[in-house]
């Protein structure tokens, strides 16, 4: 079953057909979402009503286009804000974790490493509710004992950031640590023997080497945060992040505006994905 071993022609044809079918299955749902963004009809379904850009550009109800829909634009902004914070936090913590696990020896190291991996195997909904429960416990305690009411410990944008960070940090740690592992420490020692302090050596030699991994981790963190649903669902407050707002509209049944939004998301995340592949491949 490798090219060098002859197989009956019927087998090869069947196998090829199966692979082709698989890729149709893969692309079909995304393709229909994209195509119906241009359908001149109130519903994202057949019959095809002709080509239109209304679902992007029109500015009046009921055919409100994406770029004039204040509520959706606001939720895009909320998601963007959340994703930026999650990215900064998880890349920073991921970098310190990478140095900790790759460079240092300390008691319980392998135990801590395993603990660090755990957020990946906890279902997102459960991460969400555990953080919701815990922050409410703190908030109730503060309110009952000291009369302080901290609004951000109730479902809010702050909690969404914290909740998403709790598992995205694992991913950034793994990405950055994988590259740091390949780094030759002799380079750092050379810098130090040329008179650089330890910190300067790390800043001027190691960090530039880590940059592709850091950029790659940042892109992945940003996208995972922007598209997260399960954890966000439990923690979102009155400012709805985009996925929560989209979910609401999907359940109500929506105009092709939702297709327009989906197409926009696909284009942006596709671009970012290509960028991350490019960044990580470039310097390896």
């Amino acid at each position: 079953m490798i090219p060098s071993i002859p197989q009956p022609k019927s087998f090869r044809v069947l196998y090829g057909a199966y692979i082709a079918l698989f890729f149709v299955y893969l692309v079909l749902p995304l393709a229909v979402v994209a195509v119906f963004a241009f359908n001149d009809s109130m519903f994202p379904s057949l019959p095809w009503g002709g080509f239109t850009l209304d679902w992007f550009l029109n500015d009046t109800e009921p055919r409100l286009g994406l770029f004039h829909d204040g509520r959706l634009l606001e939720s895009i902004w909320t998601s963007f804000f959340i994703a930026c914070w999650v990215t900064v936090l998880s890349v920073a913590v991921g970098t310190t974790n990478a140095f900790l696990f790759e460079r240092r020896e300390f008691p319980f190291k392998s135990f801590l490493y395993m603990l660090m991996l755990l957020p990946l195997v906890v279902p997102g909904v459960i991460l969400g509710i555990s953080i919701l429960v815990f922050s409410s416990t703190i908030a109730n305690w503060l309110e009952n004992s000291y009369g302080i009411d901290l609004e951000f410990l109730r479902p809010s944008t702050f909690l969404v950031i914290v909740g998403q960070f709790s598992f995205i940090a694992t991913i950034t740690t793994l990405v950055i640590a994988a590259r740091l592992r390949k780094f030759d420490t002799a380079l750092e020692e050379a810098a130090q023997s040329l008179g650089a302090s330890r910190l300067t050596a790390v800043r001027t030699v190691t960090m530039p080497y880590l940059k592709p991994a850091i950029v790659g981790a940042a892109i992945v963190a940003f996208l995972m945060s922007f598209e997260n649903f399960n954890t966000t669902l439990m923690l979102a407050g009155s400012d709805q992040p985009l996925t929560i707002a989209m979910y609401g509209r999907l359940r109500e049944g929506s105009t092709p505006e939702l297709n327009a939004l989906s197409l926009l998301l696909m284009t942006v995340s596709g671009g970012l994905a290509l960028l991350s592949v490019f960044v990580q491949r470039d310097k390896d």
Binding site: I5, V27, S45, L115, P123, S130, F134, F229, S269, G270
Partner: protein
């Protein structure tokens, strides 16, 4: 400050973010959730230790049936994902070379970069009563009227498998890639046929990828919320939806926390036994 003290200080500084993260956001929240699941409200603002919330789960058939259904469907979805992805991964890893190989592999990653909402939306457009498939069937004359393909278990399965595919393909392609062609050829030279080579050479070699793929897929399916709820409709029974109902609709956090722990328990059990069966550790599989 001497050198030893400086080393210890820097170790402490490096470890602080890790500890704040793991203790503050993972360990304490889960401990608190456990504590809340083990209490019962006896009067306003008065709670007592009790196993009542777990008892409720076993006494109310709806709850444990939903739980069992979620578990079984997740196992089926994982098996299907493996069956469908394995030939594809093998094709990409061993039958193709060069650009086409890289391109098809990247194509497999596409759904990952697209939000799950968008993917599910795509399936809704395809499968609903006024959807693309229904229209195509009527057009070719295989159906007389609109066909509703949403809101049943098969549809949920299609959606779950679709969402999980990538998490199976990537580890499989990675492990299969490292299989030497010569090993497969040797199998044939020694008189093996396609089936025996697959069973004794290819599958054992791919085992680490199969295990890590299955673990991730199972876990994601079990914890999925969007796909079952959107493709399965209102009356669909999925355990995460029960958790959501307890927390948000009924505001019964004690019961919801107990459900959360049961789901976490099942998920951990499956991950753990998967690792044990294949004699791997979490660190090897994920790291």
């Amino acid at each position: 400050m001497n050198l030893k003290a400086a080393t210890r200080l820097s170790l402490f500084l490096l470890m602080a973010p890790l500890l704040v993260w793991l203790i503050g956001l993972i360990i304490l929240p889960h401990a608190d959730m456990l504590a809340i699941s083990l209490r019962e409200r006896v009067a306003v603002r008065t709670y007592e230790f009790s196993f009542a919330n777990y008892g409720e789960f076993f006494n109310e058939p709806l709850y444990w049936r939903t739980f069992a259904r979620t578990a079984i469907m997740s196992i089926v979805a994982t098996a299907l994902t493996l069956l469908i992805s394995f030939p594809v991964s093998y094709y990409i890893a061993k039958m193709l070379r060069g650009r086409l190989k890289a391109f098809l592999f990247l194509l497999c990653l596409v759904p990952f970069w697209v939000s799950e909402l968008v993917r599910t939306f795509g399936w809704m457009i395809l499968l609903r009563e006024s959807g693309v498939f229904s229209n195509v069937l009527q057009w070719v004359g295989m159906a007389d009227g609109p066909v509703e393909m949403l809101y049943n278990d098969a549809t949920i399965m299609v959606g779950l498998v679709y969402t999980s595919m990538l998490f199976m393909v990537v580890p499989l392609v990675t492990t299969l890639d490292s299989l030497e062609d010569a090993q497969v050829e040797a199998g044939y030279d020694l008189g093996g046929n396609a089936f025996s080579v697959l069973r004794t050479i290819i599958i054992p070699h791919a085992m680490p990828g199969i295990v890590s793929g299955c673990i991730v897929v199972f876990m994601l399916t079990l914890g999925n919320y969007l796909t079952p709820v959107l493709l399965g409709g209102k009356d669909n029974l999925w355990f995460t939806a029960q958790i959501y109902t307890q927390f948000i609709t009924r505001f019964n956090w004690e019961q919801g926390a107990a459900f959360g722990f049961l789901l976490l328990g099942l998920s951990s059990l499956i991950v753990w036994s998967g690792l044990k069966l294949s004699r791997q550790t979490l660190t090897e599989t994920m790291g």
